[in-house]
Amino acid sequence: MRHVVGIVLIAAFIFYVLSLVSGLFIGPDPEAVGPVGRQVLEQSTREAGAVNTVTSVVVFYRGFDTLGEVTVLFLSALGIAVFFRAGGESANRAGTSGPAGNTEECGAPGFILRTGARILYPFFFLFGIYIIVHGHLSPGGGFPGGVIIATGFFVAILTGDRFHLPEGLLTVLEGFAGLSFIGLGLAGLFSPAGSFLANILPLGSFGTIFSAGILPLLYAVVGVKVAAELSGAVGRIYLDPEPVEEQ
């Protein structure tokens, strides 16, 4: 059964490569972008005011979709929270995982990791905030910046120092960020444009950091939410869930 699947898949791949060689299905490379993309490229600087067109699409033209995307991320973080909070088995796990258990099984984290993490820790946050704030000007934005900040937390956890994740603060930040996104969207309903997530702020001068209306604000909110959710998810997996129960 497995061999059949393998043979079929590899045959499909060979057929695909051969069809490309002979130009069976796929014509020559397109010389220009499609109609939607061309329209976005022509109008986004005027309508959204962002230098980065991808950010215009993600936050301005498909802002509602991004709200759904953040919700998916929230659901996966919620799922992890359910896995690692509910059920009585978390007490058994406390002895075999987490920083204290890892030192016995895999050896203590080395000198280089600990010292490097201590030096790099502030820079993770600085770089993450930079990426979030410049999301409408350069490649980056709320999603990558949030991941970079969460990486800072992850490195701090890996060093094995007794690290307390500020879970209450993270939850508050996450909820506040989600509410801010929806609040900014609702504010658009009462603006002259009268649509959800409409631009309510002046566009400013093109290419500066205070430009593009509410785009930087929305992306900053997304960045805070992503950072809080990922830090919470990583922390719940790696840290002892209930260290008190074992004693």
Partner: protein, 121 residues
């Protein structure tokens, strides 16, 4: 199109190859971690395929920096925005799958899918 393989077709082959490798891993492996790695490989392949769909020959990134004011040579921003979404969703799936894997290992004390009772079909 005087050459056989253009940039687009080469990237398409790479993307399709990654999807095939991922599907092979999903269908033939029994270790849960290898299944998740296969899922991720297929995910990356689909992302490359989507980004590649908006590529034009010699195009630049769709960012209006000072030097480039012409929108004519920019690649399509719409598939790139779609892939941004897809990457985040893929991350969510992977994180949830890894969390579920830890729970399954606690319950069955094995990572082999075949040895997990109650998952037979």
């Amino acid at each position: 199109m005087n050459q056989i393989f253009t940039v687009t077709s080469l990237m398409n082959i790479a993307a399709f190859g990654l999807i095939i490798i991922g599907l092979l891993a999903i269908f033939t492996q029994r270790n849960i971690f290898k299944l998740i790695i296969g899922l991720n490989l297929a995910d990356v392949g689909v992302n490359i395929f989507l980004v590649n769909a908006g590529y034009i020959d010699g195009g630049t990134a769709p960012i209006f920096t000072d030097g480039i004011r012409s929108a004519q040579i920019m690649t399509d921003p719409v598939p790139q925005a779609l892939v941004l979404t897809a990457i985040v969703i893929g991350f969510g799936i992977t994180a949830l799958a890894l969390g579920l894997t830890i729970r399954l290992f606690e319950k069955y004390h094995t990572l082999d899918v075949k040895e997990m009772r109650g998952l037979k079909w």
